[in-house]
Symmetry: D2
């Protein structure tokens, strides 16, 4: 069982709210809403996604680096984190 499990229900709740926000944009587009409003809704989803991202990064850092089983696992968890971080920071 993965380390994410203990916090998974919290993350899943966040994700369902994000899905609800995505459906909100879908409805806004179907109703021909003004694009300024659509852009504000998308900005809000980006913010929610970023909050989720930070939580998962924190989880990864704690479980795969700080609490890694041994030095080899820790080195691997850190390397993986650096690689993923590069796809976020650009």
């Amino acid at each position: 069982m993965s380390h994410l499990s203990r916090d998974n229900s919290k993350l899943i709740s966040r994700l369902r709210r994000i899905k609800g926000q995505v459906e909100g944009v879908e409805r806004a587009l179907e109703a021909d809403a003004d694009c300024a409003e659509v852009l504000r809704q998308i900005a809000s989803i980006r913010g929610a996604m970023t909050g989720l991202t930070n939580e998962v990064f924190e989880e990864h850092l704690r479980s795969h680096v700080v609490d890694a089983a041994d030095d080899t696992a820790r080195e691997q968890g850190a390397e993986e984190m650096i690689q993923i971080l590069k796809s976020y920071l650009k």
Copy 2:
């Protein structure tokens, strides 16, 4: 009827794919997937959201600034775009 209508179906298709990706992350979390995998999926959603954002910005710029009905409307569309842009570029 809003200017978004002509391209709405394309944007709605993009948004449905994004919703599908969000559901994919939800399933990954429910299945206790590794967080590196979850982070990669989230990065992919961010990319898709950014593509959508660029399209809506382009629509806004064309409809509310370039093709604005008159100078007052154009000035207002530009001001609105600057304000929204500030919430994206940070």
Copy 3:
């Protein structure tokens, strides 16, 4: 003379402050400062760069789109803005 001229002195002042901040990081690195401190300084430079970016985008939108000489110039200014925006939003 370019449209940027009227605001150039303000932008140049901003840029000189940014250069001063970059020199601050250089000194911090030469003095073997802690990397957490270095990362905070870099975050501050990113914020200053983003403020500058928003000002130049606003200038571009006003001068090359809103106040464009004619429809052809306006279309071209908008197209240019969209292309550059794509390199910022990612």
Copy 4:
């Protein structure tokens, strides 16, 4: 002596190139360059800053988390990284 020292000369070289790029934008503004060109130069500086940021994050993760002296130091290095990361991912 801080852990950054071993790689400091490489980071300082990167930073000097960034300072040169900032001076390039300064000259462009003084010469009334087109703002599209200015925006492209700023985008290039952002890219260089991001490369530097990734290197310093990697250094921090290796020195203060992976190779931390003990568990308390490791926990503290991880906490610090999470806090700083939040100011970058937004």
